[in-house]
């Protein structure tokens, strides 16, 4: 079985880190429920490079615009022994900024957009642009001051640019684009990967006090959450909280390097997945690509 997956995420959304950790988890084969590499074939130089950087807690070099990488892995499911040739791109986040700002994309993206059986959509909670309203900011400032703000001098407004749109608006448009020509998708399962999930956890909180990935998405990106919930017939979705690095590279570096089995640093929260099983979103996407499963499992 061949399967291509689409990866979408604005700059620094965690795409490459996810791929690096995924390669380590699958080639190591030590995570009980996870898919593992069936055979090493072809060229894995890029995957090995980013894995080595990831395991050494070095920041990954960002892909440059127009130089998207494409990686492939032959994976086997432990549950039933089925083998899948998985193809994934590691695109530059700027490709997606361009798509929103300039309304264009590379031909390879269109090809993959047409052929992919699933979509991994990355969101980095630390990189969300909210598109703040003046009213909310003034009200918050007044509440903090305990009184009305003094009048600011009048200024000329800055001209509008698509760049000023919030993250959730851009992500919704990137998904909507897949429905329109030239991609024209009528069905594409979507796994949302909320990266750096460890940064959202309350250090002292009990599990019941922690937000689930679904709750976080509805709070932080309500437009995106609504769009996915209202379009499950076309874009069935699941949401995962992922800490592919296992901590903050600056703050937790010593602890992370002290772990002799880097796969144990990986954390994932979501439906039907074990703690370190980064392949859970892929397994779900592959399952949903099966025509027999269409319309069954949704959010």
């Amino acid at each position: 079985m061949n399967a291509k997956q689409l990866l979408i995420g604005l700059p620094e959304a965690g795409k490459s880190t996810f791929l690096a950790a995924l390669w380590h988890v699958t080639e190591g084969g030590r995570v009980e429920s996870a898919m593992k590499v069936a055979a090493v074939e072809g060229d894995q130089q890029y995957l090995n490079e980013i894995r080595d950087a990831w395991s050494s807690c070095r920041p990954l070099e960002r892909n440059r615009r127009g130089q998207d990488k494409l990686v492939s892995m032959k994976l086997v499911a432990k549950s039933d022994g089925s083998v899948v040739d998985l193809t994934l791109p590691d695109p530059a986040g700027e490709s997606f900024s361009d798509q929103w700002e300039l309304g264009r994309c590379l031909p390879d993206y269109v090809t993959l957009g047409r052929e992919a059986s699933g979509l991994l959509l990355f969101v980095n909670p630390g990189r969300i642009e909210a598109g703040l309203s003046i009213r909310d900011v003034v009200r918050a400032a007044e509440a903090a001051r305990g009184g009305a703000a003094s009048a600011e001098p009048a200024v000329e407004p800055r001209p509008w640019s698509p760049q000023s749109a919030g993250t959730q608006v851009q992500l919704v448009e990137l998904i909507q684009t897949l429905r329109r020509p030239p991609m024209g998708r009528s069905y594409l399962p979507v796994a949302i990967i909320v990266s750096a999930w460890d940064q959202l956890l309350e250090p002292e909180g009990s599990p019941s006090e922690q937000l689930t990935p679904e709750e976080w998405l509805a709070q932080a990106l309500p437009l995106l959450a609504q769009y996915l919930e209202m379009n499950t017939e076309v874009f069935p979705s699941r949401i995962y909280g992922v800490s592919a690095q296992g901590g903050d590279l600056a703050r937790d570096r010593a602890r992370l390097l002290d772990e002799p089995s880097p796969w144990k640093r990986v954390m994932i929260v979501g439906p039907d997945c074990d703690a370190h099983d980064l392949t859970a979103p892929l397994r779900w996407l592959l399952k949903m690509a099966d025509p027999d499963n269409r319309g069954k499992a949704t959010t």
Partner: protein, 329 residues
């Protein structure tokens, strides 16, 4: 980037459109070639056709004098979907004009550099700019509904209330599922400006009916906007403004009895000032469901809601021209 493998997928279907022509990209690293993707800031009746042809669509015409809050109303509804999990029992299900909404919200955002929210004035346009919003009831209780908002430029509104020819030029009125007539609440709160604000709305509605631009028994909402201004008046002045508004509501009802039996009134503050305790889109939520669900064009004489005889816009279009689905007249 060349995918290493081929997989059976939707792209294998023979119905897939061919890839569009590739255009030369400019100015970025590498000499990449790019494909232009279809997208819109605004739609017009032609570019909106794929939407209107696919399902019943509600066209909401927002009309009022300049600075009565037309653009702010539409932008603020979008803003509510950006900030909340639902609005008036509906969730956001898509938009073909996200760029247009974003542009209209710009002067109310910190990115504009302003310290006081504003709204860009709608300029006179030759066409009929339409903003698209698709909404669906919470819980996906029924299919989504497409809404197309358009506002009548303030000067065109002023001309249309005074001139039948000018009114006849507002062709979009014929397609209005609902007409939203805005009266500036700030004007209604000032004794010397009240009557002009009220009479503009009355004159426009009368002219639209007398010229046959509105369908029989149209759905019309008269909305007193900027209610936050009225709300923050000293008690005596506020009571006076409220009493005046009650009286003009009664007068309008009386003026159009038998012609507009579905006249509703609302008091809204689409984007209240930061000093106001009113919430974003104050007063809009109770009205919104009817904007989504009801249509002047689907109603039968007598005001009863009829099941739409023609689910598709194209069938309605053909029917209005006396053309059967087989093509014969």
């Amino acid at each position: 980037m060349t995918p290493a493998t081929a997989s059976p997928s939707e792209s294998d279907k023979s119905s897939e459109p061919p890839l569009p022509a590739v255009e030369e990209g400019a100015g970025h690293e590498g000499s990449a070639e790019y494909i232009e993707l279809p997208r819109f800031s605004e739609l017009d009746p032609d570019t909106a056709y794929p939407i209107t042809a696919a399902s019943p669509t509600r066209v909401l015409v927002v009309a009022g004098l300049a600075d009565s809050g037309k653009t702010t109303l539409v932008a603020s509804i979008y803003e509510c979907f950006l900030k909340r999990r639902s609005f008036a029992g509906y969730c956001f299900a898509g938009s073909e004009t996200l760029l247009g909404f974003e542009k209209r919200c710009h002067l109310a955002r910190t990115a504009s550099g302003l310290s006081r929210a504003d709204t860009e004035r709608t300029g006179r346009s030759e066409g009929t700019p339409l903003l698209h919003l698709r909404v669906r009831p919470e819980g996906r209780k029924s299919p989504g509904r497409d809404l197309l908002f358009t506002d009548v430029f303030g000067e065109a509104f002023r001309e249309a209330k005074d001139s039948s020819d000018a009114c006849r030029r507002l062709g979009i009125l014929r397609r209005a599922d609902r007409l939203l007539l805005l009266v500036d609440g700030g004007e209604l709160s000032q004794n010397e400006r009240r009557f002009a604000a009220y009479s503009a709305v009355r004159d426009f509605l009368r002219r639209s009916l007398d010229t046959g631009m509105l369908p029989l028994d149209p759905l019309v909402d008269v909305l007193a906007t900027k209610w936050d201004i009225v709300d923050r008046l000293p008690p005596r002045e506020k009571a006076s403004a409220e009493e005046y508004i009650r009286r003009i509501e009664a007068l309008l009802t009386e003026d159009f009895v038998g012609r507009v039996d579905n006249l509703r009134f609302g008091r809204i503050a689409a984007r209240p000032s930061p000093e106001s305790a009113l919430a974003l889109c104050h007063g809009v939520e109770p009205l919104f469901s009817a904007w989504v669900e009801e249509s002047s064009l689907y109603r039968q004489p007598g005001g009863h809601e009829a099941l739409p005889r023609f689910e598709r816009e194209i069938d309605r279009y053909l029917n209005r021209r006396g053309i059967s689905r087989s093509g014969s007249r």
